[in-house]
C-alpha cells in the first residue's frame, strides 16, 4: 500500500501519495504550478526552473522535488512570481521571440506564460539576438532554433517515446543548442507522426509543421482567450486536425 499524506500549497491542503512530486500532487488537486519544460507524458527534467516553489523555505523545482508530508509549499507568492517573471524574461531575451510574426503566437506557452505572469512591456534585460541557421531541409518540418527555449521536450519525446533520439543538446552554457542527428534534419529519420514533432511537444515556434501553419487564425487560438493553466492545452486537438 502506498502511503498517503497531505501538505500545503499556499495554505491549501493537498493530498499526495509517497513518491509523488510536488507537481504531480498539485496537478491532481487542481492547483496550477507554472511550468515550461515539464509536460504530460515526459520524464521531468527541472531545467526551465519556472516551476520553482519554496518547500519549507527552500527553493526547489516542483516537477522534480518529491512532496513531503506536512510541508508548506509557497507557489504563487510575490517573491516566487518575481523569480518566475525574471526566468521567463531571460528566455525571451535569450532567443528571438517576435510574437507578431511567429506562427506559434496564441498557442505558444512562453508567450502565454508571459501574459499569465503579467509581463506586458519591454523588459530590462539585454537581447542576445542569436543568429542560428533555420533548418528547412525536411519536407514536412522546419526547425528554427532561434526560438528554442531549451526545454528538451523534443529531445525526451524523440528518445523516450519515438525511440529515435533524433534531437540532443550540443554545446555548453550559453552556446548550448538543440542539435539533430545529422548535418540537417532531412538526414534524420524524424517523421511528422513522431511525438517529438507533435504540436503539443514544442512549447514555442521552434518546431513548425510545414503546410499546417496558421491552422487556426491568430486571435482565435487557445491562449488568445484563456490564460495558460491546468486543462488548457496549447493546441485544441480539434482545431489542429
Amino acid at each position: 500500500m502506498s502511503k498517503e499524506f497531505t501538505f500545503e500549497i499556499d495554505g491549501r491542503l493537498v493530498k499526495a501519495v509517497q513518491g509523488d512530486t510536488i507537481m504531480q500532487a498539485a496537478d491532481a488537486a487542481g492547483v496550477y504550478i507554472p511550468r515550461l519544460c515539464d509536460t504530460e507524458g515526459l520524464e521531468p527534467q527541472g531545467s526551465c526552473r519556472v516551476c520553482v516553489v519554496k518547500q519549507n523555505g527552500r527553493s526547489v523545482s516542483a516537477c522534480t522535488q518529491p512532496a513531503i508530508a506536512d510541508s508548506k509549499v509557497e507557489n504563487e507568492t510575490e517573491e516566487i512570481q518575481g523569480y518566475r517573471r525574471n526566468l521567463v524574461r531571460m528566455l525571451y531575451h535569450e532567443g528571438n521571440h517576435l510574437c507578431p510574426i511567429c506562427e506559434a503566437s496564441g498557442r505558444c506557452e512562453l508567450q502565454a506564460m508571459g501574459y499569465r505572469l503579467g509581463i506586458t512591456q519591454a523588459t530590462k534585460y539585454p537581447y542576445l539576438q542569436p543568429v542560428r541557421p533555420v533548418d528547412a531541409s525536411h519536407p514536412d518540418i522546419v526547425l528554427d532554433t532561434n526560438r528554442c527555449i531549451f526545454c528538451g521536450r523534443c529531445i525526451r519525446a524523440s528518445r523516450d517515446i519515438d525511440g529515435k533520439h533524433v534531437f540532443e543538446y550540443v554545446g555548453r552554457g550559453i552556446h548550448k543548442r538543440v542539435g539533430v542527428n545529422g548535418d540537417r534534419l532531412a538526414q534524420t529519420n524524424v517523421e511528422l507522426t513522431d511525438r517529438a514533432i507533435d504540436l503539443a511537444t514544442c512549447p514555442v515556434g521552434c518546431i513548425i509543421q510545414k503546410g499546417k501553419g496558421f491552422f487556426a487564425p491568430i486571435g482565435q487560438r487557445q491562449f488568445d482567450h484563456k490564460p495558460i493553466s491546468l486543462g488548457v492545452a496549447a493546441v485544441d486537438p480539434e482545431e489542429a486536425e
Partner: protein
C-alpha cells in the same frame, strides 16, 4: 622525432573500432573512448562521431553532445600539439595574456585557433591548477610553469624544431614531481606542514590495518566523532554521507574520489595527489570497507593528466601488496578495485552529480536531486563521492582516532585544512593549518602586507575587504574548499569580478535557465558599470538578478555564481560608487549621448545645436 604519418580514412575507422573494443563497446565508457580518439587523431569530426555512434548503438548527435560539452574535445582536427594557457585571474595578473600572445606570434597560431600547417593549436583554459607558480601552460599533457617571455620564446623555438612537449622540461620539481612516472616541472610549494596530512612519517597501510580490525559500524562512529566535513567546500558531514550509502539497500555500491580540482585558486589536491596518493587510496579503501563497495573511481581532472601514469602505478603497487583488488589484506570477501577516470576540461564536473554523469559517459550535467548520489549515484547505485583531501583525512582518522582529529580546528569545523594561497603575496603555496585561523594570520604567513582584498573560496566564494581580515576560515564564518587569492591595492576589483563572471558564463553547463542566461546578463551589466554607463539603480538590478540566479538555479554553480557581484557590492561599495554616473543630463545612465551623437556629427559634418553648448553655425 619520428614524424607520425596521418592515418587515412580507413585507418581512422579501424582505429575507432579498436578503441571501442578496448572498452567493450560500453556506452558508459564514452569519455574514455573519446579521450583516446582525441589524443590519437587530434579531433573527433562528424564521420568519426558517426563511427563511434554505430559501434555503441547510439545516435551521432549523442556523441556530438559529448564532444561539444568538454573543452578538451574538438569537433575539428586540431594541431598535433595543443597549447593551453591558464587564464585564471592570478595567472592573468602574472602575465598570461602576454604569454599567450608570444605563443601566438612565435608559432603563427591564433589564440583559439590552429596553425596553418596543422602542427599547433593555442587556447586559453580557465584554470590549470598552478596559480602558485603562474603563469603556467599545458603543452600536450606537459605542464610548464613560471613562464616568462624569454622562456616562451625558447619553448616555441624548440617546439618548431620538433622537440616533443615532454622534452621541454629543463628541471624537475621537488618530491614526487621528479618521480620517473611524473617528470614534471611543477613544484609542490608546501609552505607549512600541519599535523594531519602533510606531516612526515605517515606509514603506508597503517590506517587500513587499524580499520580492518574494527567493524564498519565502529568506524562510522569514529568518523562521526572526528567531525570530519567534506573538504571540497560544501562541508557536508562525511560520516553521514557514508552512513546513508551503507544503509541504502543495493546490489552494488561505489566509492568515487573527486580529483577534479577546478575552483580557480585551489591546487592543494595537486599536492596530495603527488605526495599523498597512497593515503588517498587508503581512505577510499576504508570507505569501501565501511559501505561495502567493490569498485571505485578516481576522477582526475584532464589538466592533471601528467599525474595519471604515477597514480596508475600507485594502484598497481597496492594491488601487488594485497592492499587493493581481491581479498584485501587477506580478508576473505573484501574485494575493492579502483579505476581512474580522466576528465576533459569542465569545471562543472567538480559538482558531484555532474562528475558521476561524466563517469557514466554523459555530458557533465548535474543530476536531479533527490535522489542524492549516496542513494542513487554512479549507474544508479549508492555512491560516496568525496574530495581527495577528505579521503586523506578519513584515513588519518582511522589510524589516530576521531578525538585526535577533533582536537584540531574549531568546535564545529574540525581538523586541519590545506589552503592554496596565490596572488599578491611573497610566499604562495600550500599551507596546512587548523580550521579557524583568521585571514590576517594567514596573510602574515604568506607575507602579504599590501593585501587589500582577499577572495576566499574561489570565484564562487566571497571577496572580503581589509576591515574583515579578522574573520575566521571555517564553516561557521568563511567557508572555503581551500582557495585563497590575495589582491593588493593596485588591482582593479571590478576587473576581477568581470573575469569571475566570464568564468561562470564559460563554465555553466547550460542546463538550467538562470545559470545559463542570468550569468551572461550579470556580466554584461558589470561591463557597463566598468565603462561608467550605469547609475545607482543598476546596483539594484544586479542584486535582484543575482538573487533570482542563486534562488532558482539547479546546482551549486548557479547558487554561488552571483557571489563575486553580491559580495563586492557589499564589501567594496566605494569601488562601485566611484564608477556610477549621476543622472545629471536626465537621460538613462546607460545611454551616452555624446557617444550616440558622434556618428551624426561625422555624417552631418557639423556639431549638435542642443548638445554642443558652444555650437556656432558660423
Amino acid at each position: 622525432m619520428a614524424v607520425k604519418q596521418p592515418m587515412n580514412d580507413q585507418e581512422r575507422v579501424a582505429f575507432i573500432d579498436q578503441v571501442c573494443r578496448r572498452y567493450q563497446f560500453d556506452r558508459s565508457r564514452l569519455m574514455d573512448i573519446l579521450l583516446d580518439i582525441q589524443a590519437e587523431l587530434n579531433g573527433i569530426e562528424a564521420p568519426l562521431m558517426e563511427a563511434v555512434a554505430q559501434r555503441l548503438s547510439i545516435t551521432r548527435v549523442e556523441v556530438e553532445g559529448m564532444v561539444s560539452f568538454y573543452a578538451f574535445f574538438s569537433a575539428h582536427r586540431q594541431g598535433e600539439i595543443v597549447i593551453r594557457v591558464s587564464n585564471d585571474i592570478v595567472d592573468r595578473h602574472a602575465g598570461a595574456e602576454e604569454v599567450a600572445r608570444i605563443f601566438s606570434e612565435e608559432l603563427q597560431t591564433p589564440i583559439g585557433g590552429d596553425s596553418e600547417d596543422g602542427r599547433f593549436s593555442l587556447e586559453f583554459i580557465p584554470f590549470l591548477g598552478m596559480s602558485d607558480q603562474a603563469p603556467a601552460a599545458m603543452i600536450g599533457a606537459t605542464i610548464l610553469t613560471r613562464l616568462t617571455p624569454e622562456k616562451v620564446r625558447t619553448i616555441c623555438a624548440r617546439l618548431k624544431s620538433g622537440v616533443a612537449p615532454s622534452d621541454l622540461i629543463e628541471h624537475y620539481g621537488d618530491g614526487n614531481n621528479a618521480h620517473p612516472l611524473v617528470c614534471a616541472e611543477v613544484e609542490n610549494g608546501i609552505r607549512q606542514r600541519g599535523d594531519v596530512l602533510l606531516c612526515e612519517g605517515i606509514v603506508d597501510g597503517a590506517a587500513l590495518d587499524s580499520a580492518l580490525r574494527r567493524t564498519p559500524d565502529d568506524l562510522l562512529a569514529e568518523l562521526s566523532e572526528s567531525g570530519l566535513t567534506g573538504r571540497g567546500g560544501a562541508g557536508f558531514p562525511t560520516a553521514r554521507k557514508w552512513r546513508v550509502a551503507a544503509d541504502t539497500a543495493a546490489e552494488r555500491r561505489y566509492v568515487v574520489c573527486n580529483a577534479d580540482e577546478g575552483e580557480p585558486g585551489t591546487f592543494k589536491d595537486r599536492v596530495l595527489l603527488t605526495e599523498r596518493a597512497d593515503l588517498m587510496v587508503e581512505g577510499m579503501t576504508i570507505a569501501a570497507y565501511v559501505i561495502g563497495a567493490e569498485a571505485g573511481i578516481i576522477y582526475l581532472r584532464g589538466e592533471y593528466a601528467y599525474l595519471r601514469a604515477y597514480l596508475e602505478d600507485v594502484l598497481r603497487q597496492r594491488r601487488e601488496r594485497g592492499l587493493l583488488g581481491e581479498t584485501i589484506a587477506g580478508r576473505e570477501g573484501f574485494d575493492f578495485d579502483i579505476r581512474i577516470q580522466l576528465g576533459a576540461g569542465a569545471y562543472i564536473c567538480g559538482e558531484e552529480s555532474a562528475l558521476l554523469s561524466s563517469c557514466e559517459g554523459l555530458r557533465g550535467e548535474p543530476k536531479n536531486r533527490p535522489p542524492f548520489p549516496v542513494e542513487s549515484g554512479y549507474l544508479g547505485y549508492p555512491t560516496v563521492v568525496d574530495n581527495v583531501e577528505t579521503f586523506c583525512c578519513a584515513a588519518r582518522i582511522m589510524e589516530l582516532g576521531g578525538a585526535w582529529f577533533g582536537g584540531f580546528g574549531t568546535g564545529r569545523t574540525t581538523g586541519t585544512k590545506l589552503f592554496s594561497v596565490s596572488g599578491d603575496c611573497a610566499r604562495p603555496g600550500v599551507y596546512e593549518l587548523p580550521f579557524g585561523i583568521t585571514v590576517q594570520d594567514l596573510l602574515d604567513l604568506v607575507e602579504a602586507p599590501d593585501a587589500a582584498a582577499v577572495q576566499v573560496g574561489g570565484p564562487s566564494g566571497q571577496m572580503i575587504n581589509s576591515g574583515q581580515f579578522e574573520r575566521r576560515l571555517c564553516l561557521e564564518d568563511l567557508p572555503t574548499g581551500g582557495s585563497v587569492m590575495v589582491f593588493s591595492l593596485h588591482r582593479n576589483i571590478l576587473e576581477i569580478v568581470d573575469h569571475f563572471l566570464e568564468f561562470f558564463v564559460e563554465e555553466s553547463c547550460g542546463y538550467c535557465t538562470p545559470c545559463r542566461v542570468g550569468n551572461v546578463f550579470l556580466k554584461k551589466r558589470i561591463e557597463k558599470v566598468r565603462k561608467g554607463l550605469c547609475g545607482a539603480e543598476d546596483l539594484g538590478y544586479l542584486q535582484e538578478l543575482g538573487k533570482t540566479i542563486s534562488m532558482t538555479s539547479r546546482c551549486g554553480l548557479g547558487l554561488t555564481s552571483p557571489n563575486p557581484v553580491i559580495s563586492t557590492i557589499r564589501n567594496f561599495p566605494l569601488v562601485y560608487a566611484a564608477l556610477l554616473k549621476s543622472n545629471g543630463d536626465g537621460l538613462e545612465p546607460s545611454f551616452d549621448i555624446q557617444h550616440a551623437l558622434e556618428e551624426s556629427r561625422r555624417l552631418a559634418k557639423r556639431r549638435s545645436m542642443i548638445y554642443d553648448p558652444t555650437y556656432d553655425d558660423a
